[in-house]
C-alpha cells in the first residue's frame, strides 16, 4: 500500500523525534515572587507563627509570671492536670454550647433579616444600617449597655416582664441564665456581620433561577430550601468558619458582664480560662497548654469543615 497523498500531509512522516520543550520558570520570576511575599511572610512569622510555636513550647513548662523564679520543664503535666480537672470539661461544654448557639443563632437570624431587607421596602436602608451598627461597636461597650437590659433589679427585661406580672430571671446568679445572657448579647452584636454577608450573597443570586422556579410553580418555602439556600452554600460555609472562629475568641463581653461567673466558671469559655489562668492566676504554662488544646480543636474543626465543603462539590 502506498502512502496516502492528502494535501498538506505529505511531509508529516517523522524522520526523527521533534525536540521536546520544557518550560522552567526563570530565576528572575522566582526571585520577584519571593520578594513580593517576603514582607507579609516576615510579619506572619514574627507575629503569628513565632508566638504560636512559643506558646506550644511554654505549655510544657511551669512558669509563674508573678515570681522571679525561672520556668521549669514539666513535660505533659499541664495537659494532664487540665484533663483531670472536672472544671475543664465543664468549660469545654460551656464553650461548645456558647459557640454552637452563637454560630447557629447569628447565621439564622442574619439570613432571616437579609431575606427581609432584600425586598424593596420603604426605609430599608436605614434599617440595614441599624442592623449593622452593633457590629462596629466595641464588645466592652456592648457588654456595659446590655447590663442595663438584663439587670434583674432595674433592667429592660425586668421592666417588660414586670408589666405582665412576671419576675425577671436571675441573669447574674443562675448559671444557665448567665450563659443565655452572654450568648444573646454576643449574637446581637455579631448579627450585623452575618446579615451583611448574606445580603451581599442574596443580591448576587441568579435571577433566572428565581424566574424558572416561578414558572415551575414552586411553593415559597420549597423555593427557599431547594433553590435559594443551595445557591447560598458557599456563603454559609464561609460564615460558619469565620463566625465559629470569632465566637471561640469572645472575651470582652464575658469580661465586662460576668467575669466568667457566676460560681467562678459558669460563663467561662476556653479563651477566658486561658486569660484567667495566665494573667489572674499567673500560671503561664498552664494557660499556654489550654491555648494549645484550643488551637488543635479549632484546627480539627476547620479541616473537617473544609473537607465537607470539598466533598459537597
Amino acid at each position: 500500500m502506498t502512502a496516502p497523498t492528502i494535501p498538506g500531509l505529505e511531509n508529516s512522516t517523522l524522520t526523527h523525534e521533534p525536540p521536546q520543550r520544557k518550560y522552567k520558570r526563570g530565576t528572575k520570576a522566582t526571585l520577584l515572587g519571593l520578594a513580593l511575599v517576603l514582607p507579609n511572610l516576615i510579619l506572619l512569622l514574627v507575629f503569628t507563627y513565632r508566638p504560636l510555636i512559643d506558646n506550644i513550647r511554654l505549655s510544657f513548662y511551669n512558669w509563674n509570671i508573678a515570681s522571679t523564679r525561672p520556668a521549669t520543664f514539666v513535660g505533659l503535666d499541664n495537659y494532664i492536670e487540665w484533663a483531670q480537672n472536672p472544671v475543664s470539661w465543664q468549660i469545654v461544654l460551656q464553650t461548645a454550647i456558647f459557640t454552637v448557639a452563637a454560630v447557629a443563632g447569628s447565621m439564622v437570624l442574619g439570613l432571616a433579616l437579609a431575606l427581609l431587607l432584600d425586598r424593596p421596602l420603604r426605609g430599608r436602608n436605614a434599617v440595614r444600617s441599624l442592623v449593622f451598627a452593633p457590629y462596629v461597636i466595641s464588645g466592652a461597650a456592648v457588654g456595659v449597655a446590655f447590663q442595663f437590659v438584663f439587670d434583674p433589679g432595674y433592667g429592660l427585661i425586668q421592666d417588660l416582664l414586670g408589666r405582665v406580672g412576671l419576675d425577671s430571671p436571675q441573669f447574674y446568679t443562675n448559671p444557665n441564665w448567665a450563659l443565655f445572657m452572654i450568648t444573646t448579647t454576643y449574637i446581637w452584636k455579631n448579627l450585623g456581620y452575618t446579615f451583611v454577608i448574606y445580603l451581599a450573597a442574596l443580591q448576587g443570586l441568579r435571577k433566572d433561577l428565581d424566574e424558572a422556579a416561578e414558572i415551575d410553580r414552586t411553593p415559597r418555602l420549597r423555593k427557599f430550601f431547594k433553590v435559594t439556600l443551595p445557591q447560598l452554600r458557599p456563603t454559609t460555609f464561609f460564615l460558619s468558619i469565620t463566625v465559629l472562629l470569632n465566637s471561640l475568641q469572645v472575651f470582652d463581653i464575658i469580661n465586662v458582664m460576668t467575669r466568667g461567673g457566676p460560681l467562678e466558671t459558669s460563663t467561662t469559655t476556653l479563651v477566658y480560662q486561658v486569660y484567667q489562668e495566665t494573667f489572674v492566676n499567673s500560671r503561664a504554662g498552664y494557660g499556654a497548654a489550654i491555648a494549645t488544646i484550643m488551637f488543635l480543636a479549632v484546627l480539627v474543626i476547620t479541616v473537617v469543615q473544609v473537607r465537607m465543603q470539598e466533598r459537597d462539590k
Binding site: 441568579r206 433561577l209 424566574e211 416561578e214 414558572i215 415551575d216 410553580r217 420549597r222 433553590v227 443551595p230
Partner: protein
C-alpha cells in the same frame, strides 16, 4: 391546545423615552410555532417575558386560550419556558431538574417517573439523568432545559434564544430537533431568536420586530419574497438584500426605475399610480446576473462557501441612486473565475420596489 393573543401590548420603562415594546399585536394560532426575530434591543425577549408574566404589561392584554392572563402570575399561566441561560437548578441532577415542577404540582411518583423517562427518551438524555448541570456540555444542558419544559405538558412553550450558547453545528442539528419535536407535540410555541436562519427554518410564521415595533408577521418564504418594508428586506436573508435609494423614476409607456445610466428596470404596472419621482429598489444576491451590458462594479472580495459563493462588489462609476450599505452581494453560480479586484458588469433580474418616503413595499400600498 390553545392560541395565544398579544393584544396591543406595550412595555414602558420610562415614559419620557420610546417604549421597549410598543403596541405589539400578534395572534399565535393553536399549535403554531411562531418565531419572534429582530436585532438586539428590538424587544423580542421582552415580548416573550410579558407572555410568561415575568415582565409587567403596561398597555394591552395577553390572552392564552381566550382567557385574559395579563394580570396573572407566571405560575398561574400554565406556560413552560426555556431560558437562554437554561436556568437549570445547579444543585439538582437532570432528573431532579425535570421532576421539580411536577413535584410542585403534587403529581404521583409513578406519573413523574413516566413523564421524565419519556422526555429523556425523546431527547436522548437517559445517560445523563443522574448528572448535575456543572458536569454537562452546553448542548446537554440545553436538552435538559427542553426536557424540563416538555414534562410539564404545558399549554404554551416559550423559548428565549435557547440555541444561542451552542456551537454552530450543534445549533443546526438542535434546531431541526426542536422544530420536529414541536410538530410532534403540537404545543403552541413562541420562540425568540436574533438569528434569521433559525427564524426562517423553524417557524410556521415569523414575526419581525424592530425597536419594539412589529414590522411583519408572515410565513417564512412569503416574508422572504415579499418583505413589508426595507427593514424586513434587509434583515431577512443572508447576505442582505441590496437596497438602492433615491432611484429616479422615468415615466414613459413603461415606467422604469433607473438604477444606473442605461440600466432601467420596469416598474410593475400596478405600482405605477403609487410611485412618485423616486423609489427604493431592492435586489437579492441571487437576483443579479453577470451581463456584459450591465452596471460596471469592482469586486472587493469573494466568499467561497463550498456549495455557493458570493461576490461583494462596489459600483465602479457614479450611480443615480445611492447604495444603502456601500457594497452589495451577488450570488455566483458556478462562476468560480471571479476574484477580488476584477471589474464585472451586473444587471438585476428581479427587483422589489419600496416607497421612498415610508420605505414600505409597494405591494402593500
Amino acid at each position: 391546545m390553545v392560541d395565544v393573543q398579544l393584544q396591543h401590548i406595550s412595555r414602558i420603562y420610562d415614559p419620557s423615552r420610546p417604549a421597549a415594546v410598543h403596541r405589539v399585536n400578534i395572534h399565535v394560532r393553536d399549535g403554531e410555532f411562531l418565531t419572534l426575530v429582530g436585532p438586539s434591543g428590538s424587544g423580542k425577549s421582552t415580548c416573550l417575558r410579558m407572555v410568561a408574566g415575568l415582565e409587567p404589561v403596561n398597555e394591552g392584554s395577553v390572552l392564552i386560550g381566550g382567557k385574559d392572563v395579563t394580570e396573572l402570575r407566571p405560575r398561574d399561566r400554565d406556560v413552560a419556558m426555556v431560558f437562554q441561560s437554561y436556568a437549570l437548578y445547579p444543585n439538582m441532577t437532570a432528573r431532579q431538574n425535570m421532576a421539580f415542577a411536577l413535584e410542585n404540582a403534587g403529581m404521583t411518583k409513578d406519573e413523574i417517573n413516566r413523564r421524565v423517562e419519556n422526555a429523556a427518551a425523546m431527547l436522548e438524555l437517559e445517560p445523563l439523568l443522574d448528572t448535575k448541570p456543572a458536569n454537562m456540555s452546553g448542548g446537554q444542558r440545553q436538552r435538559v432545559a427542553m426536557g424540563r419544559a416538555i414534562v410539564r405538558e404545558p399549554q404554551v412553550f416559550l423559548m428565549d434564544e435557547p440555541l444561542s450558547n451552542l456551537d454552530a453545528r450543534l445549533r443546526v442539528s438542535t434546531r431541526a430537533q426542536i422544530a420536529e419535536m414541536q410538530r410532534k407535540l403540537g404545543v403552541t410555541t413562541i420562540y425568540v431568536t436574533h438569528d434569521q436562519t433559525e427564524a426562517m427554518t423553524m417557524g410556521d410564521r415569523v414575526a419581525v420586530l424592530k425597536d419594539g415595533i412589529l414590522q411583519q408577521v408572515d410565513e417564512p418564504m412569503h416574508l422572504y419574497r415579499h418583505p413589508g418594508n426595507t427593514f424586513v428586506a434587509g434583515f431577512i436573508g443572508s447576505p442582505s438584500m441590496a437596497l438602492i435609494e433615491q432611484v429616479p423614476v422615468i415615466p414613459g409607456s413603461v415606467t422604469t426605475a433607473q438604477i444606473a445610466p442605461g440600466i432601467e428596470v420596469p416598474i410593475p404596472q400596478e405600482f405605477v399610480g403609487k410611485v412618485e419621482d423616486q423609489v427604493i429598489v431592492g435586489v437579492r444576491p441571487e437576483h443579479w446576473d453577470i451581463e456584459d451590458d450591465g452596471v460596471p462594479v469592482d469586486v472587493t472580495h469573494v466568499e467561497q462557501l463550498g456549495a455557493e459563493s458570493f461576490a461583494y462588489v462596489r459600483p465602479a462609476g457614479e450611480l443615480p441612486g445611492t447604495l444603502r450599505t456601500g457594497s452589495l452581494a451577488i450570488r455566483l453560480l458556478g462562476k468560480h473565475e471571479i476574484e477580488a479586484g476584477m471589474r464585472i458588469s451586473i444587471a438585476p433580474t428581479r427587483c422589489t420596489f419600496f416607497d421612498a418616503e415610508t420605505e414600505i413595499n409597494f405591494e402593500y400600498l
